[in-house]
């Protein structure tokens, strides 16, 4: 009843191209953003620190990988390392120029990982598919080795770990031990919304269409006048930029300090899970994927003991952990069988059904 497109006429080209053509969609997104901001004042610090901040950080990384894998069709397993480049670059910039605002450096650190990403994207012109995926593993292992072996990256500190120095924004600490989860959540949320908006404009415009053309058939795209090298490298650069910013956020606004091990191969796989489960080539899918892959284990950890206890089965924490692995694995297979195009497709189907409700079509 509330969700109808009747009576909303598109009278010009811009209205036809709008990302949210329906008034109801625009209202909906405004409500979601408002709710996300008000959560900072309503939610407790566990919810913000352990659920919402990592969820947003992983969503951003998933958007980055989705630009590369979902929109341009280049499979990458080096996401973790590109996130690492962003985090280490941010640390170096923050400590080398303590006077400049930390937000500036978070955005700037992405450019370093964009440069590294473009460099490792060079083989993509000749190598395709799974061969490219393995080639990006070279980036993953090489960069991780650099994080361990080059002490300059951590300013020669003995522990070899990144730590978050105290940095403020308008006099309120945002990075460092004294920053409250509330401020950090607000900063992360604002950055993620801003970057998602930019990504949405990118993928809907000329650049995004070039990426999609390359994905669907790169040979045909080349014949139509799209330059494969520039387009693919741009995809690598933009994707790595997003991953780099996500890496910087992960270390300085979530963990508050980290070792090289955070950016290992499992992190790369983790992000790839989110992209595929959420839906390849869909920005909202990145958020769904991050929610499912990151929040599902947390919920299972809480729900499982409660579910097992009525049967008189008091199980140890390790058994819960193993069951969690099994259930996550089985659910991944289940979701792929039910909807191989990801949660974003389910979302679309749901919206379509709602539009014509109560009629079937």
């Amino acid at each position: 009843m509330l969700y109808r497109e009747a009576g909303q006429y598109k009278t010009n080209y811009a209205a036809d191209m709008a990302i949210f053509p329906l008034r109801e969609d625009r209202v909906g997104i405004a409500i979601i953003i408002l709710a996300a901001y008000s959560l900072a004042f309503l939610g407790n610090s566990f919810l913000l620190q352990a659920v919402m901040i990592p969820f947003l950080v992983f969503s951003l990384a998933a958007i980055g990988l989705n630009i590369l894998t979902g929109y341009t069709g280049l499979l990458s397993l080096g996401t973790g390392a590109f996130m690492g480049v962003g985090a280490y670059a941010c640390y170096k910039l923050m400590t080398a120029f303590p006077g400049v605002n930390v937000i500036v450096w978070i955005f700037a650190s992405g450019f370093f990982s964009a440069a590294v990403g473009a460099l490792f994207g060079l083989p993509s012109l000749r190598i395709k598919g799974f061969y490219l995926a393995v080639a990006t593993l070279a980036a993953q292992f090489f960069l991780q080795w650099c994080f361990i072996r080059i002490p300059w990256l951590v300013n020669y500190n003995v522990s070899g770990a990144l730590d978050a120095p105290l940095r403020t924004l308008f006099g309120v600490p945002v990075v460092g031990a004294t920053a409250t989860p509330q401020t950090r959540y607000l900063v992360v949320l604002t950055i993620v919304i801003l970057l998602t908006w930019i990504a949405s404009n990118l993928v809907h415009g000329r650049i995004g269409r070039a990426w999609i053309a390359i994905r669907d058939m790169d040979l045909a795209a080349e014949l139509m006048g799209i330059r494969p090298l520039q387009t693919k490298l741009l995809a690598f650069a933009v994707s790595s930029y997003y991953c780099g910013v996500a890496g910087a956020l992960l270390v300085f606004l979530w963990y508050g300090g980290a070792e090289y091990d955070v950016f290992n191969i499992n992190q790369s796989f983790f992000i790839l899970f989110m992209v595929i489960i959420g839906g390849l080539g869909s920005l909202i899918g990145s958020f769904f994927g991050a929610a499912l892959i990151f929040i599902m284990p947390i919920v299972l950890g809480i729900v499982l003991p409660a579910m097992l206890s009525p049967f008189g089965l008091s199980v140890g924490a390790d058994v819960i952990e193993h069951l969690r692995f099994m259930i996550v694995g089985a659910l991944i297979i289940f979701f792929l069988i039910v909807e191989p195009h990801g949660l974003a497709r389910l979302w679309q189907i749901g919206k379509q059904k709602l539009l014509v409700w109560p009629f079937p079509y």
Binding site: A138, I277, D318, M326, G329, L336, I337
Partner: protein, 318 residues
């Protein structure tokens, strides 16, 4: 100039000066190369027959070895445990075909790739649930695998050959030979090759795809079990063995995803290249380059031949 000398001259001088060390390094490289090839073989078998890039191959190595060792610890005789482990691999093959492959038939490659990730998680959870997460010793003596070392004097030095390594190389070679004969001479082998060529054409001449998939996953499971026994004997049975399985990936891109000889030669090149690089050039940059050197070698090869050494030529049409 000094750095160029250290890169291009000094290592080679060192090789000539101490040939016994060179032989030792080459031998170690060959052995690990054969074992990489064995893991890569499991990938190739499945990729050829079903087009699935089976990420779970690494965990299948760990899982099969865990079943073997775990059953032995529970008091099952070693060879019965071996048989049961093979049986478990058969059950796994049937289950994977029924639950994962059949419902996902005709989906894009990346979706099937993702499904094997799910399988990996499931098997990690299951393995730890049943057998615990602690590293275990491989039952080398109960399986009559030789132990000890032989030291041969050559080129004015001693070269050490671990008996276990020799056995690993021999068993892996036999395994590869048997598979090659199986593929080229038997009825099932020919059916497998037909499926690898074209699913549709194979179906139209009456080959059951479902049956072939079970056979292929079972064969890959047995290869995984052998690889698990060999790696387990070298470095213990634990979930960290999974990382070693990732080493099979550069072997694959070097040899081509669809070629069995490619997997073997690729394995040897990666194994030897990695050990030589680590031993002679590693100290220049602080060591530990073994983790990425294999990938860089493979990447350099790929820039010349994008389909790998023996892969089928990629022909693109619009």
């Amino acid at each position: 100039m000094d750095i160029l000398y250290k890169i291009f001259v000094e290592p080679f001088l060192f090789m000539v000066e101490a040939p016994d060390l060179l032989i030792q390094t080459l031998w170690e490289g060959l052995v690990s190369g054969v074992l990489y090839a064995l893991i890569a073989l499991g990938f190739v078998l499945i990729f050829k027959a079903s087009g699935v890039f089976n990420f779970a191959q690494g965990i299948m190595v760990v899982f099969s070895a865990l079943i073997l060792v775990g059953l032995y610890e529970k008091g099952v005789p070693a060879f019965l445990a071996l048989l049961l482990a093979i049986g478990a691999m058969l059950v796994l093959a049937v289950a994977v075909e029924r639950v994962v492959l059949r419902p996902l038939v005709n989906q894009p490659d990346i979706i099937l790739f993702m499904a094997t990730f799910g399988l990996t998680y499931f098997l990690i959870g299951l393995g730890e649930l049943i057998f615990g997460g602690n590293p275990k010793e491989m039952i080398t003596s109960a399986l009559f695998l030789p132990q000890g070392t032989t030291e041969l004097e050559m080129f004015g030095g001693l070269v050490r050959f671990q008996h276990l390594d020799i056995a690993a190389a021999v068993i892996a070679s036999i395994m590869i030979g048997v598979l090659a004969v199986f593929f080229s001479k038997t009825r099932i082998g020919r059916a497998l090759r037909a499926v690898a060529d074209s699913h549709k054409a194979a179906l139209s001449v009456g080959i059951s795809l479902n049956q072939i998939w079970v056979i292929v996953w079972f064969a890959a499971g047995i290869v995984a079990l052998v690889a698990g026994i060999m790696w387990g004997a070298r470095s213990g049975v634990s979930f960290s063995l999974q990382i070693i399985a990732l080493k099979a990936l550069p072997v694959l891109i070097l040899g081509g995803f669809t070629s069995i000889p490619g997997a073997i030669i690729g394995g040897l090149i990666i194994g030897v290249g990695e050990k030589l690089g680590e031993f002679y050039w590693g100290p220049l940059v602080g060591g530990g380059i073994e983790t990425w050197l294999a990938y860089v070698i493979a990447l350099l090869f790929l820039l010349y031949r994008p389909q790998g050494l023996f892969g089928e030529k990629i022909i693109e049409r619009i």
